[in-house]
């Protein structure tokens, strides 16, 4: 690919993100006007909160890490044609497993404990996804249904754990004991809260992007997503095996998002551990057109929105739920755009 083509493809990849960012601002302005807030100061507060200072930037990045990891999980599953809506549940069981392992490894040095905790999160996430994958393989249960249902199971398991086996020693608060310093992810940029998870997310995005593009196994995953019948017939690809592998990797990524969030940000497990990261991840993945590198960009966009929402509430007294409305509007815009695009595609195809 020539340099020019590279630049061009980067622009085409980023363009939707920019367009949607613009759309988000527009929706936000309308909402502010409707609710009687003056858009100027509110938007300024949002911008300050998202990128106005070193601290703001760092909180944007920190918020985008779990979104990026679970967004990668969703993107990978969708690329394989699997509608994994269960990143939320997989993320939660990942955090639960990491907490349990952390408790068990309290005395172990962090160099060992942290990797084991992260791995435990990934394995638990993969295991949680495996339930849905096995149900689909054996009984033909649609994964859209089973993964959503498993989310509720995971939420309730988390609630039970923080009041039972994993509750902190004083037994007062429904949460786990704080992680010891040795089990907390190192900070990569001093004086900020940006932890190693950022590096992990970027590395995984690059790795997945390369894997899907360059390797035979990554290509099989895409082929199965593009047309499972042709993949089986023309490519002699083992479709159900490929789908199973994709489902497990997707679950592992979401589980990792949970263990990274636990060891990097919250340092404790509690009931509302995830403010819906696993659901926002679907929007992150779709907005990124299921491209792993795009996921990094869209995760930052959503991270900025959420970081800015806090500042907007503090400084301009605009309820932060407004941002949730904006996020929802973004998803609707996206669906509408996709629909429009696929219609155009269909028209093109059928008119040939």
């Amino acid at each position: 690919m020539s340099m020019h083509a590279k630049v061009k493809s980067a622009v085409t990849a980023l363009l939707p993100v920019l367009v949607f960012a613009g759309g988000a601002v527009l929706v936000l302005v309308m909402l502010l006007l409707l609710t009687g807030h003056s858009p100027g100061p509110a938007l300024a507060a949002l911008a300050r909160g998202a990128a106005g200072s070193g601290y703001a930037l760092s909180s944007t990045i920190v918020r985008s890490i779990p979104l990026a990891l679970s967004g990668l999980a969703v993107a990978l599953a969708f690329r394989a044609g699997l509608l994994n809506i269960g990143a939320e549940g997989q993320l939660l069981v990942g955090a639960c497993a990491a907490t349990a392992v952390g408790v068990a490894l309290r005395a172990t040095p962090g160099v060992i404990a942290i990797p084991v905790m992260l791995a435990a999160g990934a394995i638990a996430g993969a295991g949680w996804a495996w339930i849905a994958a096995a149900l689909r393989k054996r009984y033909g249960v649609l994964e859209v249904i089973s993964t959503i249902m498993l989310n509720f199971v995971a939420i309730n398991i988390t609630g039970w754990l923080v009041r039972g086996p994993l509750q902190e020693p004083t037994r007062i608060n429904p949460q786990s004991a704080s992680l010891p310093l040795s089990q907390q992810l190192p900070i990569v940029i001093p004086t900020t809260r940006i932890h190693v998870g950022a590096v992990v997310a970027v590395a995984l995005a690059l790795g997945l992007w390369w894997w899907l593009r360059a390797t035979a196994s990554g290509f099989r995953l895409r082929a199965v997503g593009a047309n499972p019948l042709a993949a089986a017939s023309a490519g002699k690809i083992d479709v159900s095996r490929t789908a199973m592998v994709a489902f497990l990797i997707s679950g592992a990524l979401a589980g990792l998002a949970g263990s990274v969030e636990l060891t990097g940000v919250t340092y404790a497990l509690y009931e509302n551990f995830s403010p819906g990261y696993g659901y926002t991840a679907i929007a992150v993945a779709l907005l990124a057109r299921l491209n792993p590198l795009g996921v990094l960009a869209t995760a930052l966009l959503f991270g900025a929105l959420e970081a800015g929402a806090g500042a907007m509430q503090r400084d301009a007294a605009v309820p932060s739920v407004v941002v949730s409305v904006v996020e929802a509007a973004l998803i609707l815009m996206l669906v509408a755009a996709d629909r429009w695009q696929s219609r155009a595609g269909q028209r093109l195809a059928t008119s040939l």
């Binding site: 082929a223 042709a230 490519g235 002699k236 083992d238 595609g345």
Partner: protein, 553 residues
């Protein structure tokens, strides 16, 4: 160019329709006049705009320019619902039925009000009976044969009281007997003061039942005439055109050569055969400078046949020298049985051998077990009993390329890489794949913007050429093809045929099933008929084959 019917009363009249959407299938000043009580054949090659024009008439597309008159009144047709309200119905090439629903439910879909199963079934039964179509209203669509599904589509339109029925390539999916029935039925339907527009590129169909003919080329109406006033040659010339790029390159003698070829050939399939030979030779002229090849293709088909048989004979003798006789069969099945997932025994004790450099054709009506047999040989199905011998290097071209062969939303090169992807390890050498893709594009004359073009943007013929090119890329020892030219136009069909001959002449064992008997007779060295799961060898005689296909041997 002739224009007919401009003043006559018309049921549907499209005038000066222009629709710029994509380079292929766009319309430039296309027109069509359908008289009541007639069957109107709309002819043209793939990508000529036939379907696009009819999508305009059915309200699926809004033209940029031009006018639509229904019963001589200017009208705008904004949606299929509006078209149906005006009495215009369309049966698409790819059916739009819900497989899990009954016929009655499918017909009721899109209606308003309360759905009452009993009444709906009665109404469907009534419409079908009145129209003289055999159809069980309570049958689940996915249990129906293709022919019955098509009748279901027709009844769907008739239930809305349409007076103009548009059918897009309706005979492409039907067995010969079913196709004949359908055409007969269309005649009857039209004679009741209704009208039929038949999109087709089968000249024989067109001339046998149509009253009027309109030919589109590159989005323009190039010929409109009464069927009686025109000949297959006129139509063919209008469809292919004389200013076609691929032809112009050759020089000025195309018309002459075409005529002479046609004159010398007096066989039953004469006209069709001649076209194929002609287009094949034109293509070769463009593609190759290799004089020998060109002259071989250009030669009188009769002689070419003789030469081929001779070559084959020497070939057999050569292989005879080999120690083992069994080695002669590249593809072989021995007493193979296959029962499908629903428990129906589709293949019953089939024993078959295809030698190298031999093209064996299978003729059969739908449901004879031919699809299963081909898939058993191609390694896509496993038999319950019997042995199958097939080489590792085997190409398979399934009839439904969209479903079984291509990733439509992926680029051309990824579709090439799909072959063998199941067994690949490590990295995919994309540079090599791209190079191979470019070679396939050049060798098979695939019209595309290049290896990065999305396959969906290619026309059906070019998609098929791509699939064939991919399956032939590593010169396989055996090639299995199923309805290889289904839905393709002349030039693409000729390209596919010459690719099959080339593979055979190059030493591959080729096994082909085609629902088009002409195609089997044209290409096959030996003809086998499959009926009800069993295979019989039949002499190359149309009537004998026809009888065997219906099980009356």
């Amino acid at each position: 160019m002739t224009t007919s019917g401009a003043g006559a009363p018309s049921l549907l009249s499209l005038r000066g329709v222009t629709h710029r959407f994509g380079a292929v299938g766009a319309l430039h000043d296309a027109s069509l006049h359908v008289r009541p009580g007639t069957v109107h054949a709309l002819l043209g090659e793939n990508g000529a705009g036939k379907t696009t024009l009819m999508r305009v008439a059915f309200g699926l597309l809004t033209p940029d320019q031009g006018s639509i008159l229904v019963r001589d009144k200017p009208t705008a047709i904004a949606s299929p619902a509006a078209a149906l309200a005006l009495g215009i119905g369309m049966v698409h090439q790819h059916f739009t039925l819900v497989p899990a629903m009954t016929v009655a439910e499918n017909v009721a879909l899109g209606g308003r009000g309360v759905f009452r199963p009993q009444q709906a079934a009665e109404r469907v039964g009534e419409v079908a009976t009145r129209a003289g179509l055999t159809l069980d209203p309570l049958a689940i669509v996915n249990t129906l044969s293709v022919g019955a599904q098509q009748r279901c589509e027709i009844v769907k339109a008739l239930a809305r009281d349409v007076s103009l029925l548009i059918l897009d390539e309706p005979t492409a999916v039907l067995a010969p007997a079913e196709a004949a029935d359908l055409l007969q039925w269309l005649r009857t339907f039209a004679s009741d003061g209704h009208a039929v527009v038949l999109i087709t590129h089968k000249l024989r169909d067109a001339l046998s039942i149509a009253d009027d003919v309109t030919v589109l080329r590159r989005g323009r109406t190039v010929l409109a005439a009464r069927a009686g006033d025109t000949t297959q040659d006129d139509l063919r010339r209008a469809m292919v055109g004389t200013e076609d790029n691929s032809v112009r390159l050759v020089g000025g003698d195309i018309g002459k050569r075409a005529e002479s070829t046609t004159r010398t050939d007096t066989e039953r399939a004469a006209a069709k055969r001649a076209t194929e030979e002609r287009t094949a030779s034109e293509r070769s002229d463009v593609e190759r400078t290799d004089a020998e090849r060109t002259s071989a293709v250009r030669a009188d088909p009769e002689r070419a046949d003789a030469e081929r048989t001779a070559a084959e004979r020497t070939d057999v003798e050569r292989t005879d020298v080999k120690p083992s006789d069994a080695e002669r069969d590249v593809l072989r099945t021995n007493d193979v049985y296959y029962t499908d997932a629903r428990g129906a025994e589709r293949v019953r004790g089939v024993t078959l051998g295809v030698r190298r450099a031999e093209l064996v054709g299978i003729a059969a009506v739908e449901g004879g077990g031919q699809h299963e047999l081909l898939r058993l040989l191609a390694g896509r199905l496993m038999p319950q009993r019997g042995t199958i011998l097939a080489p590792a290097r085997l190409g398979f071209v399934p009839e439904d390329r969209h479903r079984d062969a291509l990733m439509l939303d992926a680029p051309v090169d990824e579709n090439v890489a799909l072959r063998g992807a199941g067994a690949r390890h490590g990295r995919i050498p994309w540079a090599t794949v791209r190079h191979d893709t470019e070679q396939i594009i050049a060798a098979r004359d695939v019209r595309t913007d290049g290896p990065s073009a999305i396959v969906r943007t290619l026309s059906g013929g070019n998609q098929q050429k791509l699939v064939l090119g991919r399956e032939l890329a590593n010169t396989p020892d055996a090639l299995i093809v199923e309805n290889p030219s289904r839905g393709l136009d002349f030039q693409a069909t000729a390209a596919v045929h010459s690719a099959l001959r080339e593979a055979r002449d190059g030493g591959a064992a080729v096994l082909m099933y085609s629902s088009d008997l002409d195609e089997v007779l044209l290409l096959a060295d030996r003809v086998l008929v499959m009926f009800n799961g069993t295979l019989t060898e039949v002499p190359r005689d149309r009537d004998a084959i026809g009888r065997a296909m219906l099980g009356a041997l």
